[in-house]
Symmetry: C2
Subunit: 393 residues, 2 copies
């Protein structure tokens, strides 16, 4: 009688959540310190002090109505301007507040963007494997079809495969770099090839194919190779951002959509973003945290823990003979399993209280995902287990 | 090429927003104090001090990860328990945290509830005139049809009309009491008649018709007649709540959905709520404010300003000969215009810098809405203008 699809989505526990619950159960038996739970992407580094200072300062110096009231649906003007100026300084762009639409985090941003663009049930959104599993829920929930693009051996985008998958119904492609689950930053050369195919196909079909970026990990980079700012490569790019990871504020639901003026029919697209936010019930982004991110726009988080964890893991796992793509950003590693079966490997790992996520949900069953946003001590402990797991095989 | 409907919804400026912008323009010319802008329902009473105290205390005593991290999608257990216990104390109910699902405010709650219940494009949701205009956007956005139920002369629900409008496709009715725009609290006798029709029709069609309450004004009541707690009258009731008005936190987007255990197939309905929240991109309700509302659950706001404004207006307007339903709650009055044409009356009022919202958007063109969540001085100033406006006619 009610929506069967919503019951299904609400009942089917996410695999990641199930592993997390298993971990809590084990912790009660063997002690929290002995469970190597690498399943969740919950930042272990706390929000920078400046965040708390900003909140206290706001409370001490402003009347509550100045920061608890509705903002306009597009967001506070000072916040939007601060975001535009921060990006302009870093990427040499010319954004203004009129390119920025504040949202309740990246999941909200993506849903709003999908809803704004999808005009027919035939519309297809391409997603690059491996991918964040909720993309599928969001795209289908907003009325579109998911088309998967397989990766190269390095987990980059396979451009030849991409070209084959484009049809007259292709509305957009989602690009997530640094990538969840692989940690890979797509090389600029790879993205340029992608853009070139999309331009050609847009002309061929007489209709723009958008790039939708999902950039919550943009600032979580451990090498000198920074992720490309895609609007500099491709006009019809829409950016989706969140401070969940870059300021460790995942629970506060604060992010934005950026529609560059270079987007074809920019006015209509920006309006459609507003219409979609309205339709989905996103009245405005949380108002106090709009002010917080404005004041903290230039804060750089201390990511030395993530960096250290990554180095220990990458060095040891490759030495042990594991095959994995070089993770340049985010806080994930995507590891090819000796048995080419992520689920079987996870079951074996569980016996040592090492908790990983099978790759199948991300579109590649041979792999497992490891989230290294945890204490370094646990990373060190895990090496011994990884040794056993490859030797057993 | 993109969604025309989203462009339309994003471009069509809300009438209320347009009036608000007009007021800002006039304020620049004649001075803010001379513009009697009664267009917006933005609380004029600031959030209670306990809110700011709670935030500062949280920052001073807890590590940031304790309140900035993701909560589970249903919300923090302590917050959900506090809500259940608060309602149990007031209404003699037996809710537990398992009945409560935290959301990003009432607009989110309503969208999630509509999405959870609507299973087919034929599904109809009834809305009682006069009604908050965004209901239409939300219901149609979530795939359902809106069916309007006209009011009685007192702006109660016309039960005979309601009965005529119920069909085999009726999925639910939205009840908003105290009502926006009328301020009316539906008498319990009126609601009991509604429930009786719905029970009869549910049996006749062999399928539950839900009551969906929208209760952001539940605590804004100025008389001894409190709004009924509808789950006590009708099993298949789903409550949608927000602290936007009751704690003056409209920008913080914090509210909940309550699915009582009495709802038929409670497990499935609660799961569908979770599935709908997931599909719409609502990962979790803002985490810091989940803690804030937990600690402030028993705080009663000082509403003496709203009460005073209401008394001055009601007494003077009725004395002047205006016809209006007795507003027992919220901070709105819905005034029948002498010319039976709200738009014409608003135009006449504008000449005196008195800004009201025409009733047509709420489903009744003869009326205007007045939001009295403003300084009392402006209320007093407006009486002279209302006198001129009725005399001119």
């Amino acid at each position: 009688m009610i929506s069967k699809e919503m019951v299904r989505l609400g009942t089917a526990r996410s695999v990641i959540r199930e592993i997390f619950e298993f971990g809590k159960g084990r912790a009660a038996v063997v002690g929290e310190e002995n469970v190597l739970d690498f399943s969740l992407g919950n930042p272990s580094v706390p929000a920078p002090e400046k965040v708390q200072e900003t909140i206290k300062n706001m409370i001490d110096t402003l009347p509550p109505k100045a920061y608890h009231s509705y903002t306009s649906s597009v967001g506070d003007n000072n916040t939007r301007t601060a975001i535009a100026e921060n990006l302009n300084r870093r990427f040499g762009t010319k954004y203004t507040m009129n390119n920025v639409f504040m949202t309740c985090g990246a999941a909200a941003s993506l849903n709003i963007t999908f809803r704004a663009l999808i005009a027919s049930p035939e519309d297809e959104i391409m997603v690059c494997v491996p991918y964040f599993p909720e993309y599928k829920v969001f795209i289908e929930g907003q009325g579109g079809k998911v088309v998967l693009v397989p990766p190269t051996k390095e987990l980059h985008i396979d451009v030849a495969e991409l070209e084959k998958k484009v049809t007259k119904n292709t509305k957009a492609i989602v690009i997530n770099s640094p990538n969840n689950p692989s940690g890979v930053i797509y090389p600029e050369s790879n993205l340029k090839e992608v853009c070139s195919v999309l331009k050609k196909k847009s002309e061929e079909y007489g209709s723009p194919i958008y790039i939708i970026t999902d950039e919550p990990y943009r600032e979580l980079v451990y090498t000198d190779v920074k992720p490309a700012h895609i609007p500099l490569l491709y006009d019809n790019t829409i950016i989706n951002y969140s401070w969940s990871k870059s300021l460790s504020l995942p629970g506060e639901r604060i992010g934005y959509i950026l529609v560059p003026s270079s987007v074809v029919n920019y006015d209509e697209v920006y309006a459609a973003v507003g219409g979609a936010a309205r339709t989905l019930g996103y009245v405005c982004a949380p108002s106090m945290f709009q002010r917080v991110v404005e004041k903290c726009i230039d804060v750089e988080m201390d990511m030395s823990v993530y960096k250290k964890n990554r180095e220990i893991l990458y060095e040891n796992l490759t030495k042990l003979g594991y095959n994995l793509a070089k993770p340049d950003g985010a806080f994930y590693m995507f590891i090819e399993t000796p048995e080419k079966d992520g689920e079987a490997f996870c079951e074996r790992a569980k016996k040592y209280d090492l908790l990983l996520v099978p790759g199948i949900g991300f579109g590649t069953k041979e792999y497992v995902r490891l989230a290294y946003c945890v204490d370094t001590q646990k990373i060190e402990k895990s090496i011994e287990v990884f040794k056993k797991l490859i030797e057993e095989k």
